[in-house]
Amino acid sequence: MPVSAPAGSRRGWRLWRTTVFRLTLAYAAFFALAGMALLVVILWSATGFMTRQVDASIAAEMAEVMADAADPALHGDPYKTVIDSLARRSPAFQYLLQSADGKPLAGNMHALRPVPGIRLMLRDHRLGHENNPEPTVLHGQGRVLPDGRFLFVGLNVYSVAEMRQSLARAFLWCLGPILALGLVSGFLLSMSMARKVERISVASRAIMDGDLSQRIARGGGGDEFDHLADSLNAMLDRIATLMLNLSQVTNDIAHDLRTPLTRLRQKLELAERDDLTRDALREALAGAGGELDRILSTFSALLRIAQIEAGSRRAGFTALDLRPLLQTLHEAYAPVAEEGGQTMTFQPGPLPLPVQGDPELLTQLVANLIENAITHAGPGAALALDAGRTGERVHITVSDTGPGIPAGLRQKVLQRFFRLESSRTTPGNGLGLSLVAAIAGLHDAELTLDDNHPGLRCTLTFAAAVRSTL
């Protein structure tokens, strides 16, 4: 077991390091900054717009004051008259007329410094403001009259400032939740991701610790993690099959070699006895040699299968016609079958049988099928070697009328060392059909075992051959 820190602290620490969490943090920061920028732009444009409106109404009011004061019908001081009347009628505006020496002459304001132009004042200059709790920000326009007096028209723009402040406050209030939401969702997202990844790594560690039956659980949502889990599980299935195969083959090798090794040992032990005649000794030694030969042939068969399965031989493939090859095999094996009380027919069909392959290996493949039929079909059986072509696909069939193989075991007989119980007494190492399967695989040919009613029918079908000159 790997040494691990307490799970909690480790997980907390790891959270900061998850990609998702970092991404979420970055996005939250990005959105906060974007929000701030938006706020600034909105404030700037809204304030500018309002200020322009205020400026315009103040300018209009100032123009009106000037126009009213120019009315020749007015008596006395026209400015004073106009301001007094306006201050009474329009309480929204602030008016001031003060003498050149700074004394208020008319209006609803205290004295101001006589600065011409637009100005903004935070100090309250309204008359009676002490009794008016409403805060004020005065925006106005001053003008020095030709006689040296100072005229001012202003507007309380406190509401504009207040709106600007509340806008800013609202944005700042939103910023918190944005960040908080970002953090929380990032946390949740990374937790869920971490959980999914953790599922995979827990399963992987369990497998590393030796439990090859472990599989990665699917979340069930069909998301990309499920997809990954499916792929990994498929890989694990394949590995498990291979491991099982490997351990089974190892087991079988050990078992299968133990029998001849035991017999070898017995024979050598017998040979050691003192009372043995010279001939008996020689026989015991010859028997021992025979057992050794069996062991060695098992090994070379295994090596050969492994070599063929490695597939390097494919480089040596040539285009060949199977007919002469099958002809030779028939000639070679027909007498063997007849000696065992069997018959063997050969029907190659009228067409050439072009395939890409290795003649030596294909010869061995068909020879193994024939020998299999001869050894297992029993006396009196009829063996048939057929070949033909359906379209571009060449096939070879070796069939017999012997006891056959039960349907459930037909795939098993292709495995290394698998032998039907009935064939234990006949010669063979249980590798013949494995070798056939390996050679067929090398040639991309399909090997099928069927019921011949009665007996066994082995069919080898080659993939559609590349057009050749044969």
Partner: protein
């Protein structure tokens, strides 16, 4: 026969030297590739070459020897039993290929066959052993002047046996020479064919085709004293 064995494993060397020495051959040994190449230029009836050697590998040795025009037969003896290895060995100029571990009878038989091949002159068209005769041009055989009806492959088997008359041919050798089969049969393939041939050639006559127990078969003229 004078045989040069190029082999680096002392145990194999001792085994082969003792085994073949018992058959009446004279064995010299070279224990590495370069020594082997140098000594191979001497006059030998046969070279037995391991493929994996220190210094220079067996394939290269034989390739160089063949390039210099050396005619002596070469038998490769090797643990390399890859499917392509035998072909590579024969292509390099080897005459036969035997995979370790091997039975001494197998080696002795192959050595005998190779030595015999080297000693033979131009290919005869008529082979004769005692009163058995085959004509390779007309593809006919006769025993004591009476024609024997043989299938093409039976004629081939008989031809091989007669070419190696007096020599032991193992089952594996017959598989290779007659059918070009390079595998170990589970059935008694060779025995069946030999028994058929015997039925046609030897029935009613003095036996020419003999079984050599634990080794193979041998076609030879009857011993004049016993016959």
């Amino acid at each position: 026969m004078r045989i040069l064995l190029i082999e680096d494993d002392p145990e194999s060397t001792a085994f082969i030297a003792q085994g073949l020495g018992g058959e009446g051959h004279a064995i010299d040994v070279a224990a590495d590739g370069h020594a082997g190449l140098k000594r191979a230029a001497e006059d030998w009836d046969l070279l037995i070459v391991d493929r994996m050697l220190p210094g220079l590998d067996g394939l290269s040795i034989v390739r160089r020897l063949r390039a210099t025009g050396l005619q002596a037969p070469v038998l490769f003896l090797t643990t390399m039993d890859g499917i392509d290895d035998r072909v590579a060995g024969l292509r390099a100029g080897g005459d036969d290929y035997l995979v370790k571990p091997f039975a001494l009878v197998e080696l002795a038989a192959r050595v005998g066959a190779l030595g015999r091949r080297a000693a033979r002159g131009p290919r005869e068209t008529v082979l004769r052993v005692a009163d058995l005769e085959i004509d390779l041009l007309t593809r006919t055989a006769s025993r004591a002047g009476k024609a024997i009806d043989l299938q093409p492959r039976e004629l081939k088997l008989l031809e091989i046996l007669m070419r190696h008359a007096g020599q032991v041919l193992t089952r594996a050798m017959l598989m290779e020479l007659v059918w070009d089969f390079h595998f170990d049969p589970l059935t008694n393939l060779v025995e069946s064919h030999i028994s058929r041939l015997r039925g046609k050639v030897d029935r009613g006559h003095v036996e020419l085709i003999h079984t050599v127990r634990g080794a193979g078969y041998c076609l030879r003229a009857p011993d004049p004293v016993a016959g």
